[in-house]
Symmetry: C2
Subunit: 414 residues, 2 copies
């Protein structure tokens, strides 16, 4: 077993970087959007910890960071673990960080015990997993796995028009090594569940069978600015009303039950000129759809497209454009790696269930390169995440990383 | 008749102050929010024109500006005309400015013709008529008329937390004279219609019978930030969805026909943290209701309050608060002044109709002090306003100000 107290301390220390006091909840949250100054400070801290743990650190052209512990077989492909340390703007301490700091804690533990492995073990930190700054999630791992190109990623811009490439250079994380990852032997990621399933089942850890499909689109609605007092209702082309109708319609698609386990979220929404007595001329919004079933997802996307088409035709002066931000299909994980994880949990005497991930993870990208699976750790408060209330107990975190240690050790000796 | 070309030139010159190029329409718009640097520059320009026209300028503690042309009877109450020169952020050249520059043009014309009047004529510029920067419309005239206090107005803040009192001082428009206006003999305001009624009737000018009621509220919705991928729909308290439901419900109140000629607009809407994969924790929006009938307005406000109450109860974790921003009842204008305006229009050979104003105007506040009415000038493109496309022809503007001149002359000799 790993040193749970040391793991916990590193989680709490990292959470101080980019910390803020959340007015509403009175809690301390984390705001460490990818490649901001806070993220760069967090990266420097974790690189220091990697080096203190004896890892050899390399940084690739996407800013992905890998810390390597050599194995005895100098030609064997490494076993990779890791996750991300970028966060959303209202985050807790665990999302992503548990996987990275857990990987480092495993290395520390192996070193203390003088344990060597046949294969090297590498701990990865992937850039812009959250996707909230530059608009595409799992970005660093997707480029490392070859699904997206470096050029696409470098050209993405944030809301201020800053490019990802420019921000990599500004923060000093535009590393020299090739971004395309040579296929590892296997990949295992430990992550908080971010949902209520483990708590509902009363188990501390889960073996993840895969990740549901994710569809992100941006919708821009053009209407016509007009005076709120004088413009008759029939002469309006109200972009804000159209956005509201889309949001309400999305909820009705979910509630209809016709699209399987569809989830729909409009997290970003702005209207322009955004003034009390002016009918909005323009609205901009994102639509985040999730579905474990690709056929259901395709039908939900079609239903949304049909509604947008109908809306556009419903009023003169209203026009809509959509832009694809991100799209991933249902991603199943490797059954062999799942078995090693389940066995490790059994060995530690920890109850577990198998479950599908509701959130996207770097593991689903690396799964294209090698056998991959994930360990989920239970969260309190219905597993709430992307919220300062996000919390997993020190015990739960240590148990997840215990399983990670045993799993990595077994895989690294295969 | 006045000098229409000179009037037009002053409208175009003033529109250059705070001008911007509107990307979407390719038109040149005006952005001169109250007490910004642009508004201050506009004020200085108009004060210069007032002084060049021989007016004696005074500024009160609300930044309201009055330019006075003496009459022959040194004890007679003045006839007041005027409007505002602050604008919304996506404005045209005419809203408010026509009334102020029209008043100055009348003075120039009287001077050129060597016409004296028994009563003084004053041209007023009222502060923050639009209400979009500090949240309450017709603010300067409401304080001048005694409906709102100076303390209330000075303490209002903009979105950056700057107070109106501070901005008055910063721009140098915190004048020394008492804000409470001594009752004028009468008040006449010339303004663009900002709606389609005159165009529909094929007449160039209108005699305004009054202003419909206006209700402005701000609604803040507190929900719970949560992960878009992992949070089951039944565990969400989505503040953005609640905002959307309010917007759609408001439209259904309008469409029901049960609230008379109700108009409803949500012009301001923001969600927080405003990120793709986070269920909104908070939403902030304004609701602008208009109704010519106070009883219908009261019932519409009740229906909205009932819906908000129902919404709050519909999901645990969702709470709503409302804040009153502005509220004015239906304000009828003086029939005597309306008759003088109609007679002046007849004398100029201009067809006219009587109509109610859809927009709020300073005239409805000054109406509490003295007999008041307004002249409306037709707008092109369905009378669109609060939009760079806002346009009235040089002829229409000159015709409105011709009627203003004749009306002021008659009232000033009463
Ligand atoms: N784990 C996680 O929060 N990933 C971000 C991508 C997503 O929205 O699912
Ligand atoms: N005339 C005008 O646009 N007034 C602003 C107040 C309102 O929204 O009616």
């Amino acid at each position: 077993t790993v040193n749970g107290a040391r793991l916990w301390q590193s989680l709490m220390d990292l959470a101080e970087i980019g910390a803020y006091d959340d007015e509403r909840t009175g809690l301390r949250g984390v705001d460490r959007l990818a490649l901001t100054d806070a993220d760069a400070a967090g990266r420097r801290q974790v690189v220091t910890w990697m080096e203190q743990a004896g890892l050899t650190v390399r940084i690739d052209r996407m800013g992905n960071i890998y810390g390597r512990r050599e194995g005895t077989d100098l030609t064997a492909a490494p076993v990779l673990t890791g996750s991300h340390i970028d966060s959303v703007a209202t985050a807790g301490a665990f999302d992503g960080c548990l996987g990275v700091l857990g990987g480092i804690e495993v290395v520390r533990t192996l070193d203390e015990r003088g344990i060597t492995t046949r294969r090297p073990i590498e701990v990865g930190i992937f850039t812009e997993e959250e996707g909230v700054r530059f608009g595409t999630d799992m970005l660093g791992s997707a480029v490392a796995a070859g699904r997206l190109t470096l050029e696409y990623a470098h050209a993405l811009t944030d809301r201020d028009g800053l490019t990802l490439g420019g921000e990599l250079a500004r923060t000093g994380f535009d590393g020299p090594t090739d971004v395309r990852l040579a296929p590892p032997h296997s990949y295992v990621e430990c992550h908080i569940e971010q949902g209520p399933v483990l708590a509902e089942h009363g188990v501390p850890v889960g073996v993840v069978t895969g990740v549901q499909g994710i569809s992100w689109q941006e919708i821009t609605i053009h209407g016509r600015a007009a005076h709120a007092g004088t413009t008759p209702t029939h002469l309006r082309a109200d972009a804000g009303l159209a956005a509201a109708q889309i949001i309400v319609h999305l909820r009705s698609l979910v509630d209809s039950g016709e699209y399987g386990d569809l989830r729909a979220t409009v997290g970003h929404l702005t209207v322009h000129p955004d003034l009390t007595n002016i009918v909005p001329a323009r609205a901009e919004m994102t639509v985040d759809l999730r579905n474990p079933d690709d056929a259901h997802m395709a039908r939900a996307e079609e239903a949304l497209a049909a509604f947008l088409h109908e809306l556009e035709g419903s009023r003169p002066g209203l026009s809509l454009t959509t832009r694809r931000m991100a799209k991933t299909a249902y991603a199943p994980f490797d059954e062999g790696v799942q078995k090693v994880i389940a066995q490790a949990a059994d060995d530690h005497g920890l109850k577990h269930i198998s479950l599908l991930s509701g959130a996207g993870h770097d593991a689903q990208e690396i799964a294209a390169l090698c056998p991959t699976a994930m360990i989920f750790v239970r969260g309190e408060y219905d597993g709430i995440s992307h919220n300062p209330r996000e919390y997993s107990t020190p015990e739960a975190c240590a148990q997840g990383v215990d399983i990670l240690a045993t799993t990595l050790l077994r895989l690294a000796n295969q």
